[in-house]
């Protein structure tokens, strides 16, 4: 096949402790749109980052136009004809559209140090026109454009950079549709077809399967860092893709499903019509004593923001939160802590631990009263309690006084749990509690979650994988586009199928 533009052979990427990608083969033909689908953490984003040379693979090779392809950074990838449109937009909002398109490449418009903006705007206009974007003025500031227009400018910029020298380049689109409405998505698809008709190829990542099926010529399905299927457009349907993404269910034993507690009747936390403008609305649910309520949803479904509101990090602008029947509003996590709500945050290194401080200090900081007498902090009490938790949770550390930075991911996460549990809180919010944790520590954490609920603590869980969320939860909320799309029971003897949950997510 001589019309292959880009080829990946047996590519692998390992991070300390985890395998992000293994044995990936992929080829992109000229003028083709490739769809990539998979759950969160299946390896799609890692693959895109490797193709765009932002990250380096640990094994395997890539080739473009039949020649070996590798680069140290995005810039080199651009020079070789690969461009990436980032999820978080990389445009300079305070510059004009044309200035953004030619950012860092002003040389060709320069005479005696001065840039001929008129000339730049004229060629900007031509670039935009080649994509049929006549409604965007090259001299207007990006700030003044709506999201869809910004996205198109971003694509135009990337296309212009990589297309400068070679004919036939590869554009990577990471979730370009997540901020667009239906009409805008239509337009984006038209432009994508236009781009491929000009001899370029596109790799397209989206959570919305119907879109992927509509626009892609071939679809690669990923699960746990491996390619599980390659589906042609004509064979593709949503059910097939779901199945390939989800794979087979895992064993209940791993998740300690048998020790899942029967929730009590008392409601500890009730949420009514909660909303945060632009992120989610009309979210209502209850958390009972000893219950694990899992929230599923794709990135951008609003589940992360619900989580931030619950732990006081964001303030809801609609609806109510009732704790034991009394209404509470938190404008700060410290107020939530006062009311007995504390979270295991998602970004452990930035939010869960304070690396330069000691293990003992980290464990004690969310329950200072417990180690103080008459407002005087007792260092001995702090150390003693830390020793107790180090033993209880089997934290591997050379002592309570060493800084948390020296601990492995799993042990650092146990320190986070020790801090959150030791404060006798009534509601614990677990935001990706097993992210970046090795298998052994994962199992211990699952056991720990069972023990927490045994004590009657209510848990809200955002799992790392769907499998995990379903297996650990006694009830599930499925969120889509900022709304609760479904609510289902998940008792220990009758767990919902992943595929049924996914259907509501996408």
């Amino acid at each position: 096949m001589e019309d292959v533009l880009f080829r990946i052979n047996n590519l692998g990427k390992e991070y300390p402790g985890t395998v992000a990608l293994a044995g990936v083969d992929l080829d992109v033909r000229r003028g083709e749109i490739i769809g990539l689908v998979g759950e969160n953490g299946a390896g799609k984003s890692t693959l895109l980052r490797i193709i765009s040379c932002v990250e380096q693979p640990t094994s395997g090779t890539m080739e473009m136009h039949g020649r070996p392809f590798s680069g140290r950074n995005l810039l080199e990838a651009n020079h070789m004809g690969v461009g990436m449109v980032f999820q978080e937009q990389s445009l300079m909002k305070n510059l004009s559209v044309a200035q953004n398109i030619y950012f860092g490449r002003e040389k060709s418009f320069r005479r005696f140090f001065l840039v001929n903006w008129r000339k730049m705007h004229a060629s900007g206009l031509a670039v935009l026109a080649s994509l049929g974007l006549d409604n965007i003025s090259p001299s207007s500031k990006v700030l003044e454009l709506d999201f869809a227009a910004r996205q198109m400018v971003e694509i135009a910029k990337v296309l212009n950079i990589v297309g400068e020298k070679k004919n036939g380049c590869l554009i990577l689109l990471d979730e370009p549709t997540s901020v667009l409405n239906d009409g805008e998505i239509r337009k984006l698809f038209e432009k994508m077809r236009l781009i491929t008709e000009q001899g370029n190829s596109i790799i397209f990542v989206s959570h919305r399967l119907s879109e992927v099926i509509e626009i892609s010529d071939r679809i690669y399905v990923f699960k746990d860092g491996r390619r599980t299927a390659l589906v042609d457009k004509k064979d593709a349907n949503e059910n097939l893709l779901y199945e390939k993404m989800v794979g087979r269910g895992s064993s209940g034993e791993y998740f300690k499903v048998n020790s899942q507690t029967e929730p009590g009747d008392d409601t500890v936390l009730e949420v009514r019509n909660l909303g945060l403008k632009g992120f989610f609305k009309d979210v209502s649910f209850r958390v009972r004593k000893g219950e694990v309520v899992g929230i599923c949803g794709v990135v951008g479904s609003g589940k992360e923001e619900v989580c931030s509101v619950l732990c006081g990090d964001d303030r809801a602008d609609a609806g109510q939160m009732l704790l034991d029947g009394t209404e509470r509003i938190f404008s700060d996590p410290s107020e939530a802590l006062n009311a007995g709500i504390l979270s295991v945050p998602k970004e452990r290194r930035e939010e869960g631990i304070i690396g330069v401080l000691s293990v003992a200090e980290n464990i004690s900081l969310s329950s200072m009263k417990a180690i103080s007498r008459h407002a005087v902090v007792s260092g001995r009490e702090r150390t003693n309690r830390a020793m107790e938790w180090i033993r209880k949770l089997n934290i591997k550390t050379s002592g309570p006084k060493v800084s948390v930075d020296t601990l492995s991911g799993g042990n650092a996460q146990k320190v986070v749990f020790a801090r959150v549990i030791s404060g006798e809180n009534r509601i614990v919010i677990l935001n990706h509690p097993t992210r970046g944790v090795d298998v052994g520590a994962k199992e211990e954490i699952y056991q720990l979650i069972r023990e927490i609920t045994e004590k009657g603590i209510g848990v809200v869980l955002l799992g790392d994988t769907l499998d995990e969320t379903i297996s650990l939860s006694s009830r599930l909320l499925v969120m889509k586009d900022g709304l609760i799309a479904a609510e289902m029971e998940s008792p220990r003897d009758n767990k919902p199928q992943q595929i049924d949950v996914v259907r509501y997510m996408m």
Partner: protein, 346 residues
Amino acid sequence: MATQDNNSTGRGEPTSQSVTAEFSERIAAESVKNRIMQLGPLLVMVVLTVAMSIFVPGFFGFINLVSVLQQVATPLVLAMGLTFVLLLGSIDLSLEGVMGFAGSIVALLVMNSKNSMDLGVLGILIAITAGTLFGVVSGVLHTRLKIPSFMVTFGMGSAITGFGVLSYRGIPASVKDQMFARIASGTFLDLPLLTWFALVLFLITLVIERYTAFGRHLYAIGENESMVRASGINVDRIKVIVFAWSALCSSIAGVFGAIKLNIGEVIISNGFLFSTITAVVVGGTSLVGGKGGVGQSLVGVIIVVIIQDSMILLGVNSYVQPAVQGLIVVAAVALTVARSKKLIFK
């Protein structure tokens, strides 16, 4: 659709538009607010001019207009340097030090009361070059050693002031060069020559800001530095140039000071750091970087000078000046800063 599963209760088709629509609403509201913010300083300037003309006796008149324009010269020159620094999101606290230093040594290099030097224009150039070199040093320390700019320039500022005083060891030189007196009293079209110099510098700075790639890169660095680095632009070099540019402007201001006061002493710069920051910020250049510009700074300088001038006309104690500027700068920053709860300020 598929509702065969055991115990789920679907909540119907979500109205997916709403949340996305709310999001774009937020963006739209932001850009409206931005536009109002841009016009604010200009409006303040007009209102102030009208108010002062009505309430301050002696404000409205040709003589005072010339006086205001004369007072504009030095702060405008300083503001040209500082604006670029603020656009990066950095700060230059060494401005007073460099200004005092350049003013001190220029007096020693032209015909003066302390030594037999008489270098004339060359002396001015040497003084400005020496001052600029300090800016290069600040910039290099800031970018190479990764020390926050406020700290580097704060330390450098004291050190440079020290060098300034050491250059004349206690007794400052008074300038004997006739050229200085001629420039100080000279006018062109009824405007002081120094004001003309300042306006020319303003135009040059404006051209750099608007019509060079360098100018655009400044804005971009203030907005999103890591993205600029990823675009393959040498950010460190730009930063060093900007700190050198700021020191260049401060040095020119120092020469202005020596010309105006006929003496070369570090205290000629007293109070200018604060009034310059006030002017640039009041004009609408944000401390966070990426927003504002030289044009805005001109408006800011005029606002600050009008207030200063009115206070002098009203006979307010001159010690009150910095206090008033302090309140203004806090108010101006507070109005322009985005106040999200999660935003971290140090």
